[in-house]
């Protein structure tokens, strides 16, 4: 075991791991974080805490992660390279580790253009791969990037994102391989709606044996309505929603669409768990955290293992 991370322990045990997501509020509202976290408690092994998600200012991932720790939940501390340089990044990592945060997710972050601070400078002193390398160096060699020794180095379980659906598709396996080479321990994928395409990607992953070098958690997001399905299909870069799924959502009455979305999500999990190399699920119920217990239970992922 590389770290004390509960997520690492579950994954290493061979059980399917489950993570959820908590988007911090746009204000000093600890109760919002606590309410969302409370809904997930007991149903997931760890909770991703997003970092200025969609390039909008929110309570910092660090601060919100500390609230989760206080509730004895295990945060996956997300960090984007868009907003801080390598000094702030490394400072935050040792700070977070001091608060008992031992799992993180390394991302480049949405471009500022998509948020409400399009005028902001995007830092990108490092990219997500270089962030993975940095965190691994801090953990395994006990060194800051500048070469100095770290006293009590942070033992972080290192995650990253993987998008099997973006273009060029043929590059997507190679990109995962590159993250593995940089030192990633687990990846959470972009929301999967096109399972056929995901299977094709996984075939490529298995051909290269990557599934034995990194834990792959399949990302799922329940859709609330046919409108959301259409929006994700047409407007969100890097998400692939097949036409049949939009049709299926639109085919049921409006008041039944939310339930249909949950059903689709559970069916997806059923199918995805059959795929060799899938080690768990990342359930991103965006502003819909209360549905996570139902999804976890109905998908047969409850109770969560005690490790």
């Amino acid at each position: 075991m590389k770290t004390e991370s509960v997520l690492e322990k579950v994954l290493a045990s061979g059980e399917l791991a489950v993570t959820g997501e908590c988007g911090p509020p746009r204000g000093a509202l600890p109760e919002v974080v606590q309410e969302k976290a409370a809904m997930l408690k007991g149903y997931v092994d760890a909770v991703n805490v997003t970092d200025n998600q969609t390039a909008m200012v929110r309570m910092s991932s660090f601060a919100a992660s500390v609230f989760l720790r206080q509730m004895d939940l295990h945060p996956v501390f997300q960090m984007v390279t868009r907003d801080r340089n390598r000094l702030a990044i490394q400072g935050d990592i040792i700070g977070a580790y001091s608060h008992g945060i031992n799992t993180m997710l390394c991302l480049s972050g949405d471009h500022p253009k998509f948020g409400d601070h399009a005028m902001a400078a995007n830092v990108h002193d490092l990219d997500s791969l270089q962030l993975i390398q940095t965190v691994r160096g801090m953990r395994d060699e006990g060194l800051f990037q500048g070469g100095a020794e770290i006293k009590n180095p942070p033992k972080m379980f290192i995650g990253a994102a993987a998008n099997p659906f973006a273009d060029p598709f043929e590059l997507r396996v190679a990109r995962l391989a590159k993250k593995v080479k940089a030192g990633v321990d687990f990846v959470q994928t972009q929301c999967i709606y096109n399972i056929d395409k995901f299977e094709t990607w996984m075939e490529g992953v298995r051909e290269r044996g990557l599934h034995e070098q990194v834990y792959i958690m399949a990302g799922v997001t329940p859709m609330k309505s046919a409108g959301m399905a259409r929006y994700m299909k047409n407007r969100v870069p890097g998400i692939d929603v097949p036409d049949e799924m939009v049709k299926r959502m639109a085919g049921v009455p409006k008041d039944k669409q939310a339930q249909e979305g949950i059903d689709i999500c559970i069916e997806s999990i059923e199918r995805l768990r059959q795929i060799e190399g899938v080690s768990g699920f990342h359930i991103m119920a965006i502003e819909w955290e209360e549905k996570v217990p139902e999804i976890v239970k109905r998908a047969g992922l409850y109770p969560r293992p005690q490790v």
Partner: protein, 221 residues
């Protein structure tokens, strides 16, 4: 080349408000090629400023000059005989030229008529696009001759990110995904295997990270 675009006329007119006589100075180098501050653009701006002043019933004497290179003291010196006769200089060079004129003539205000944009190449008549950010440590040899620092919206040295769609960047359909281009080029060159070499975190000291940069060639100094 260094590319530039003329500032809005309101802004230029605001800067020279109150001036009776100005020296409008173009540059024969980059800004001539990108049609922003050469002899012709100087003439067009001079006519525009004069017309705008006359419309308000005010006299404005505009003297036009275009230097061979405004970023070179040798050529800037050519302004010396005229400088005392004007209230201000309006420069149509890039930021380098404006600063050279300001450095040489301490008592005359110098105003920029252009916004300096980027180092780029011409993609066709009337189109210029960014190509280089002058990071001081060229990695084009690793990326198939396409710069991810200048051409990826996130400056990713190990891209593409998850937002690349049909060869276009997530920030807009009119922006090529630099990493898609790099990948296609690597395939053409038969060096796909190099894609998986992780490009290490960059030492930005060679760029702006270490303060303003200077080159000293002792054999020429």
């Amino acid at each position: 080349m260094i590319t530039a675009e003329r500032k809005p006329m309101d802004e230029i007119m605001g800067m020279i408000d109150g001036c009776g006589r100005i020296l409008l100075v173009g540059c024969n180098e980059c800004v001539t090629v990108c049609a922003a501050g050469g002899r012709k653009e100087v003439a067009l701006l001079a006519a525009g400023l004069q017309m705008a002043s006359m419309k308000k019933g005010r006299a404005l004497d505009v003297r036009e000059m275009t230097l061979e290179r405004q970023c070179d003291p040798e050529y800037v010196e050519e302004l010396a005989p005229h400088i005392d006769q004007v209230d201000a200089v309006v420069s149509m060079a890039c930021g380098c030229g404006v600063q050279e004129v300001a450095r040489r003539f301490k008592k005359t205000p110098v105003y920029p008529a252009l916004n300096t944009k980027f180092m780029g190449a011409s993609e066709g008549p009337g189109i210029w696009a960014e190509r280089c950010q002058g990071c001081g440590d060229c990695l084009l040899g690793l990326t198939g001759g396409i710069c991810p620092i200048a051409r990826c919206a996130k400056r990713l040295m190990n891209g593409p990110c998850g937002g690349s769609t049909n060869g276009k960047c997530e920030i807009g359909n009119d922006v090529d995904c630099a990493w898609h281009l790099i990948w296609e080029r690597m395939k053409e060159l038969g060096i796909e295997d190099r894609y998986e070499d992780v490009i290490a975190a960059k030492d930005w000291r060679t760029g702006r990270g270490n303060g303003p940069r200077k080159i000293l060639r002792e054999d020429l100094a």
